[in-house]
């Protein structure tokens, strides 16, 4: 078979990915064809899904979830941007806080018991840089510690310890995590490789859908570019399953238009319903860096921030309604987060500067609805330096969702979260059924015992040639190169003596040319 014929038969134009969400690829077949009918069969799947919504820029939590029980303190701190008390949306069962008037959708979810808010979420010694604070939220590190892996990435590395070796496989055919956006975020970064598939990288459909892939010029260079792209598309191992999942869902509820968060969540619900077993989805929505003119001074309930909040609220409401319509409402919980809240006291340009703790929403049918915690502690006369102190560590929210929603064994939580954090009453405790970690990939490196006290034996597999086994700490520092030489292909062991190293999480990293794999090891006293 000639290569060009091969390309023609394997990637016919009817499955060119950009058509996915405009119905193009489906209408290329007769609608009543058995193929299309079978693709539209609903998939039953009880696996839980977590949807992370990042609000980029530092969301002004104080104008989003407003403390009505200490309204005067609130008002005095930000007279030029405060939401008028009579416009605040009340939440059933709470006399402490209310919602921004633009968030009627979210208010409805609260009243249905499908949403919770955790007040004043943050961490000790908050950082006020966008980049650094974002990294802290994504890695779940302490403020003064730089960690190179993301918390969800560590979770997925724990759940699928051999990824990407041996994946996809019959147990897990789907991406472990999907990021809607051009670059997979630090949240999904595992200790060695990214655990996520970003569905707008060059070979896949989100970019194509948005016309982001640049056209190839009609030159020899353009011809070769097109050729390389075709091969790339052909080799994107998850493109087909994602495409198939999307194609199974042809009807969804109406989402708001002109709302990029809604656009992203619409894709997420479609993929969930389409049967992907993907555990974690990540979407993001920017523009929250409201240093100036976050409200219209004539009506502080309107303006830039109101528009942003309305989009968030409308998007989440439509998403939740869609999940219900699609019959997958029981499987999904979502949460919002932003790298920081904003200052208690507003500035003179009807805006707010970088701040600290802020509320986090958690939503879904299995969520224990309501308000967690008290209204943030606001001084009577807030100064420009005052910040909202945190009541709950953001890592408690993660730990709770990991344990009570993604069903991580309590004994393993510390390996993922690097420390112990308190559990919060966020999720219907009956939600979790025991899930066995998937170990069906090609395990190239393992250790025993794990957890260990001083020594642990590493077993590693090499394809031959130069092989490296190194021990790395949670901050990414190389502690020791245990093995660094040529090997004949086979399985070998080496002992790691942790000596005087402090207890905590360490990673054993194997490098055998392009194969690399990381095993989390927990040292305990």
């Amino acid at each position: 078979m000639k290569r060009r014929d091969f390309l023609r038969t394997t990637i016919p134009s009817s499955v060119v990915l950009p058509g996915l969400f405009s119905g193009f690829s489906v209408t290329a077949f007769a609608e009543n064809s058995p193929l299309v009918q079978s693709l539209m069969m609903p998939t039953t799947d009880t696996d839980h899904v977590l949807v992370l919504i990042q609000l980029n820029g530092g969301n002004d939590g104080l104008n989003m979830v407003i403390p009505i029980d200490i309204y005067n303190n609130y008002y005095n701190a930000r007279t030029n941007i405060a939401i008028p008390q009579n416009k605040i949306l009340t939440i059933a069962g709470s006399n402490k806080v209310g919602l921004h008037p633009a968030m009627t959708g979210l208010r409805d979810l609260f009243n249905d018991g499908k949403a919770a808010v955790i007040n004043a979420v943050g961490y000790p010694t908050p950082n006020f840089s966008h980049f650094r604070a974002t990294d802290i939220w994504m890695t779940a590190s302490d403020s003064n510690t730089v960690i190179n892996s993301g918390w969800a990435g560590r979770y997925l590395n724990y759940e699928y310890p051999n990824f990407p070796n041996g994946y996809p496989n019959s147990t897990m055919m789907d991406p472990l995590a999907i990021q809607i956006g051009s670059v997979t975020s630090l949240t999904l970064q595992g200790p060695a490789v990214s655990m996520g598939m970003s569905i707008s990288n060059p070979t896949n459909f989100y970019n194509l859908l948005n016309g982001v892939q640049d056209p190839a010029p009609p030159t020899p260079a353009g011809k070769e570019l097109t050729f390389v792209r075709q091969v790339a598309q052909q080799t994107q191992q998850y493109a087909a399953v994602v495409k198939d999942a999307a194609a199974k869902v042809t009807q969804q509820v109406t989402y708001p238009t002109g709302n990029t968060l809604a656009d992203q969540l619409k894709i997420v619900s479609r993929l969930i319903k389409g049967g992907l077993r993907t555990r974690v989805y990540m979407v993001s929505f920017g523009g929250f860096d409201t240093h100036a003119v976050q409200v219209n001074s004539t009506d502080t309930a309107t303006g830039t921030h109101a528009t942003l909040l309305q989009r968030v609220s409308d998007a989440i409401k439509a998403f939740q309604d869609d999940l219900k319509y699609l019959g997958v409402e029981d499987r999904v919980i979502g949460m919002t987060f932003s790298e920081f809240g904003r200052r208690i006291k507003s500035n003179a340009s009807t805006g707010t500067d970088h701040g600290a703790a802020a509320p986090v929403f958690v939503f879904g049918k299995q969520v224990t609805g309501g308000v967690v915690g008290n209204s943030p502690a606001l001084p009577v006369n807030a100064s420009v330096n005052d910040n909202i102190p945190y009541q709950y560590d953001f890592r408690s929210v993660y730990a709770t969702l990991l344990e009570n929603w993604l069903c991580v064994r309590n004994s393993d939580l510390q390996t993922i979260m690097l420390k112990n954090f308190q559990t919060l009453p966020l999720v219907n405790t009956a939600a979790c059924n025991a899930i066995t970690p998937n170990t069906s990939g090609n395990s190239l490196i393992s250790n025993y015992p794990n957890p260990f006290q001083s020594k642990t034996i590493l077993t590693f597999k090499t394809n031959g040639g130069h092989t490296l086994v190194q021990v790395i700490d949670a901050m990414g520092r190389v502690i020791k190169n245990l093995v660094d030489r040529d090997y004949v292909a086979g399985t070998y062991t080496v002992t790691f003596d942790s000596g005087a190293l402090p207890s905590g999480v360490y990673y054993a990293r194997l490098q055998n040319l392009s194969d690399q794999q990381v095993r989390a090891m927990l040292k305990v006293r």
């Binding site: 290569r3 060009r4 390309l7 990637i11 134009s13 980029n56 820029g57 950082n127 840089s129 966008h130 980049f131 650094r132 974002t134 990294d135 730089v146 190179n148 956006g181 051009s182 670059v183 630090l186 060695a192 490789v193 990288n201 060059p202 016309g211 982001v212 640049d214 190839a216 010029p217 009609p218 030159t219 020899p220 260079a221 353009g222 011809k223 070769e224 570019l225 097109t226 050729f227 390389v228 792209r229 075709q230 091969v231 790339a232 052909q234 080799t235 993001s284 920017g286 523009g287 860096d289 130069h466 490296l468 190194q470 190169n481 660094d484 990293r509 490098q511 040319l513 392009s514 690399q516």
Partner: protein, 560 residues
């Protein structure tokens, strides 16, 4: 399907539609430009085009250097290497386990003149040779020499695994490099008597009583005349050439070949009409082999096919694989005439080609798919990857070894092409260079750049890894995220990204989703002023790492 038929079908006969590739929105434009001296702009774009084609990757420092010269001066300089030939490979391996360990050679001293033929030792030396070659390419001087050495390696393809003798392997290789810009006829003659070649194509077994046609055939088919439609040598010519070449043997101790007249066929050798029915008079005595070889090479080089074949090969190496009738008429034919007029000195041909309108034609820019070695070596050079100090040769060889292995993974094993034809990318119609990219090798290319961008490659406890800030710091204004992206892409890519794509990458990666450019500017400035601020430094490093990793995952990065 024949390439030419394919093209003409595309242009004129749409009944042939089943044989066409997936339809392009517009047909690929080709050029009619020829060898007139290029007189257009000499900007970064043209410098980078020249460097990516004639060297492995375009280093920022080299680009800046040649921007200070004219186009003509630049080509002259590339064609006139001034750096001495590289020092030979050294012993960096452990001789333990060998039956005859080479304890007479100190660690760090060269082994190339030591005739140790122990199987273990010679195997380690062949590996040592490959590591060293990778290092030579990474550390190449500002000249075309390394690209030409690789060209000749592909042209006179031999396999170290078949040759076996590591001293022969090195000697063969040194011959290619020493003659890289010299005379083709001289090089063909030297190759014919080269010990490695005598092993590889059985010349050492070729005797009057038991002639072996292997080299006699490849000399015509692959090294000189080619397989073009007018290359009409016959099977009898192969047999006659084999007879001319009888009597040569190798001396593994002297690391040399020699002639044994008693093994030589002294009869007259009759060639076909393709060679004007030449008869090479049979000779006897110590000089018989040399004299008959000279006569035969004169005969072969008198056919018009040799110069055309070589010029086509050079064209596919430096310009593009598609040789249509315009290229044949406007480029290949005149270059072949220059080669003949200059008595087969290669430099005037390269000079004419690399200074031509055709070479700098926009239609010939950006269309070369990088070979694996171009990708690996180009990555190291363009990103100025920091290797251990030169005196730490043990670590350097270990790291070079890893890079050799990456090339093997991507289907280019230096020193061991698939067979005597060299790599398919340079002769297999109609795909040619596209053969490098398939569903196995493209992910491996991406894994290579991902690994080197994120975790790096570690050997002998030394690590090579992309240093994003170091690369960015070479650019004129890295604090401006727009310029950072533009200036990076200008060096790395040959095809421009759209403004929309660049803006998206800026926002998503450099600005972390923020809309204000100053967030990146502040982070970069903070990094410059206080690199000890771990958190900010990590931010800057991670953003640049993600940016460059993303660039290298785009299809554009595979083109030169």
């Amino acid at each position: 399907m024949d390439r030419r038929k394919f093209l003409s079908a595309y242009k004129s006969n749409f009944n042939d539609v089943d044989l066409l590739p997936p339809p392009d929105p517009t047909p690929t434009l080709r050029t009619t430009s020829g060898l007139n001296p290029y007189s257009g702009a000499w900007t970064q774009n043209e410098v980078i085009h020249l460097l990516k084609r004639t060297m492995f990757g375009a280093k920022k420092a080299d680009v800046d250097y040649f921007l200070g010269k004219t186009m003509s001066q630049s080509v002259d300089e590339l064609l006139t290497p001034t750096a001495p030939l590289p020092a030979p490979p050294v012993k960096e391996y452990d001789p333990a386990g060998a039956t005859v360990p080479d304890t007479n050679i100190a660690l760090g001293a060269t082994w190339v003149n030591d005739p140790n033929n122990d199987g273990t030792i010679t195997s380690r030396r062949r590996a040592s040779f490959k590591k060293w070659w990778m290092g030579v390419m990474i550390n190449q001087d500002r000249s075309i020499r390394e690209k030409m050495t690789m060209f000749w390696h592909n042209h006179f393809s031999t396999e170290t695994n078949d040759v076996g003798n590591s001293q022969f392997v090195y000697k063969h290789h040194a011959l290619l490099r020493a003659n890289a810009l010299g005379n083709v006829k001289t090089l063909v003659r030297a190759m014919t008597l080269d010990p490695a070649m005598l092993v590889y194509l059985n010349g050492q077994l070729n005797t009057a009583t038991a002639p072996d046609e292997n080299y006699g055939r490849e000399l015509q088919e692959l090294f000189c005349c080619g397989k073009g439609p007018n290359s009409l040598y016959t099977e009898n010519d192969v047999k006659a050439a084999a007879k001319v070449l009888t009597g040569w043997r190798n001396d593994a101790t002297a690391i040399n070949s020699y002639f044994t007249s008693s093994r030589h066929d002294s009869t007259n050798k009759q060639f076909s009409a393709f060679y004007n029915n030449t008869i090479i008079t049979g000779r006897t005595g110590a000089t018989a082999g040399d004299l008959e070889l000279d006569a035969m090479l004169t005969m072969i080089f008198n056919t018009p096919e040799v110069s055309k074949y070589l010029c086509r090969r050079l064209y596919r190496w430096f310009v593009y694989y598609d040789i249509d009738s315009n290229v044949e008429t406007n480029v290949i034919d005149p270059l072949a005439a220059i080669l003949v007029a200059n008595n087969f000195n290669i430099k005037p041909v390269l000079d004419k080609l690399l200074k031509s309108e055709h070479f700098f034609d926009v239609l010939n820019q950006g269309c070369l798919i990088k070979s694996p070695v171009d990708l690996v070596v180009g990555f190291c050079r363009e990103f100025k990857i920091a290797f251990p100090v030169a005196t730490d040769y043990i670590s350097n060889y270990a790291l070079w070894n890893g890079l050799v292995s990456y090339g093997i993974n991507m289907q280019q094993n230096i020193g061991d092409p698939p067979d005597v034809s060299g790599w398919k990318a340079y002769y297999q119609a109609p795909q040619f260079h596209e053969i490098w990219i398939n569903s196995d090798t493209l992910p491996k290319r991406n894994q290579f750049t991902d690994t080197l961008a994120v975790n790096g490659y570690t050997a002998n406890a030394k690590k090579i890894v992309l240093d994003g800030p170091a690369f960015a710091a070479m650019l004129p204004d890295p604090g401006d995220p727009n310029k950072l992206i533009d200036d990076s892409l200008a060096l790395l890519f040959r095809i421009k990204l759209s403004t929309a794509s660049k803006n998206q990458l800026k926002t998503d990666i450099l600005l972390g989703g923020q809309s204000q450019d100053y967030y990146w500017t502040n982070a970069w400035t903070g990094f410059l002023n206080n690199p000890a601020d771990t958190a900010n430094t990590t931010t800057v490093r991670n953003r640049l790492r993600d940016l460059y990793k993303y660039f290298m995952n785009l299809a554009e990065y595979q083109l030169a």
